[in-house]
Symmetry: C2
Subunit: 135 residues, 2 copies
């Protein structure tokens, strides 16, 4: 599934701890920065969301595509926009959604909160279990 579109979703309501309550949410600023950075990224579709439940690590973003691993990234600032788009492009290019280590910008590597395996798909990292009794 290399070459598919990756959805890059930015939380537009994220406010890092200590941010002024009456200021524009940092997440909204990040949304604009990412939209600009993604102008030429044909494989990346940018979306904004009202809360990704990753509030303690604001600002947050996710990358996802059908049948692939998805990723959650936190502690983001607007200056990370280009790195985020580069990571989303690497995700789009990776058959299973797991970009090679060298394709992950350092800021993204260091602030990866989690990766979610694709539902119902076989993958070398994942082992399917049968529900067990008391065995």
């Amino acid at each position: 599934m290399a070459g598919t579109i990756t959805t890059l979703t930015i939380c537009r309501t994220c406010r890092p701890e200590g941010a002024a309550a009456d200021a524009e949410p940092a997440g909204s600023v990040l949304v604009r920065a990412v939209a600009r950075a993604a102008t030429d990224a044909a494989a990346v579709e940018v979306r904004a969301i009202a809360c990704q439940s990753a509030c303690s690590r604001a600002c947050s973003a996710t990358v996802a595509a059908a049948g692939k691993f998805s990723y959650v990234i936190g502690n983001l600032v607007p200056e990370d926009a280009a790195d985020l788009v580069a990571f989303a492009e690497a995700h789009a290019a990776a058959v299973d959604g797991v970009p090679p280590w060298r394709s992950r910008p350092e800021r993204i590597r260091k602030n990866t909160i989690a990766r979610v395996p694709p539902p119902g798909a076989d993958h070398p990292l994942v082992e399917r279990l049968e529900p067990a009794g008391d065995a």
Copy 2:
């Protein structure tokens, strides 16, 4: 998409901070507990994975289904197995994968690390953005 199967994936290599390096990973214990707890959960498929990149909040689990929001849960212990399965069942029953608040066990609510919107799908929480120039 209510009534579909939800994949509940447990990290089997998770070791909470300070855990003995020569002991069985707590994640492996959690895998067994969840497999037992899911015996009668027809809508839940249990899988184990080698690392979900949520190591700082071990033990971790994810729930996912095609076209739905997925969730990442952390700080789990084997005693959370039944709550995890109940949450996965609520996820399977929710059309968009967002279980009603009352269907989320308290331990799961309090330890939700992130939710990932479904790629390429429309949802009231999500706004699609067009790549922008310098506008």
